[in-house]
């Protein structure tokens, strides 16, 4: 069996492209529909109610495009609105970004005999407590989870400021508490943050800095394979992009980040998106 339908991927903006990039490496024969809700970015400081409303609306749209799976490439939605997404997507399988990253971290902690994990996230993800909760469920031994909310990292990434003194000042500002004594593993618990990974790594040279893209891609590949839903044709997968604000700003950053042309893109009209 071969399921040629595309995989839907969404985020509040361009951050989820870090997950799409991994998916394209792990599952190169799949087609993708990527939606960045650039008109309402950032999600991370918004209320859970607002995030649920936005996520529900996007899921309805992706479901209407006949996707075979939905990857929630956004930690804020994964933490605050995953039930809404699953409900609206049913019977399409939904993948979120938290569990795979926590499983990867749990593995590291065990291997390295470490008991200290750091989490960098949006304010909403930090408040949700999903990372400490998932960590204590998976790792039986005591592991201390230290969280830092870094809301402006999202804006910096959305603005294309991935390097230089301004981005560096943001890293210095938010990670100051870890300068002298960093956790052994630091989870980038927002899909925007991998764009700042080189700066974070040079600020915390001793820490293992982990992102969710590769772990999520593994989980998606494995699940689709088990369900015999992989696209078994040999064609190179195609991406259809949607953004909810103007196309220009999205395309420029998306191309620079993905390292490939972003041609197949449309701006989604609010009226096209069912509630």
């Amino acid at each position: 069996m071969s399921d040629k339908r595309p995989i839907g991927v969404f985020d509040s903006g361009i951050g989820g492209l870090t997950v799409l990039k991994s998916l394209l490496q792990y599952l190169p024969h799949e087609d993708y529909i990527y939606l960045g809700d650039t008109a309402r970015t950032p999600y991370g400081n918004k209320s859970a109610e607002a995030v649920r409303q936005y996520a529900g609306q996007i899921t309805s749209f992706l479901a209407s495009q006949d996707v075979k799976a939905i990857v929630v490439a956004c930690n804020t939605v994964s933490a605050a609105a995953i039930e809404t997404v699953k409900e609206k997507a049913w019977p399409v399988p939904v993948f979120e970004v938290i569990s795979p990253l926590v499983m990867q971290a749990a593995h590291f902690v065990k291997q390295a005999d470490s008991n200290r994990v750091g989490v960098l996230a949006t304010r909403r993800t930090v408040r949700s407590g999903q990372y400490p909760k998932a960590m204590s469920t998976i790792v039986k031994d005591d592991v201390s989870v230290e969280q830092i909310a870094c809301p402006i990292f999202v804006e910096l990434v959305e603005e294309g400021i991935w390097d230089g003194p301004f981005a560096k000042a943001a890293v210095d500002h938010y990670l100051a508490a870890w300068k002298a004594d960093a956790p052994d593993a630091v989870l980038l618990a927002c899909t925007h943050f991998p764009l700042l990974k080189p700066l974070i790594e040079s600020f915390l040279p001793e820490a293992e800095v982990m992102e969710s893209g590769p772990a999520v891609s593994l989980v998606v590949a494995d699940a689709l394979d088990r369900q015999e839903r992989l696209n078994e044709s040999e064609h190179i997968g195609e991406c259809q992009f949607y953004c909810t604000d103007t196309i220009e700003s999205f395309v420029e950053l998306a191309e620079s980040f993905l390292g490939q042309p972003v041609e197949n893109i449309r701006q989604l009209d609010w009226k096209d998106v069912p509630c």
Copy 2:
């Protein structure tokens, strides 16, 4: 005649408090209803269509509260959606923040025999071209208007990062082009930016840095007086605050900024706000 109804003031978040602070100084006997749309902040990178939708919704809410005037304490809305606000508010008079600031700048330019004005704003306000247009309408002589979009200033202010190395790095980043050769007058064409005024002034020590609060307050006071709509009682005006996301984050910053307790505050439920 004395009109005891409150004045409605709104912004995408806490930035408009810079205008409310001036209004409280110029018109201390008036009551105010302030709405910060914190669930959908920032507006400055959003499409004109989205900004019009949000502004229309807020205006309908304020009109339903029987305000006697509406002050649009947000440059992005003033530039992109003022017609929508006027239409929804009618017959309540609407005041925006662009014209008063431009008039003040025009006066300065004339006095100082200057021909170079700088504008710091959100991306949407810059794209709208409203400031250069208003300037060329008011000042007949040639004045060159140089605009810089500083979107992350809004986030910094909303996060309470008004000083220190991170805020300073943002100022260095955005104003680099003016470091060696600044315009004579620099307009803070976003109501959030006055919170960063001390940093901007120390980066541009030769420039006259102007904000819109005092100029708008003068215009509002004058217009209400002419229309015999001032509250002529001697009571100290009261403020009712609304925010669209959680109350805690708003209160803390609002109190720190206004320098007075913010007690009378409610979170507005999306369902209470008519479209």
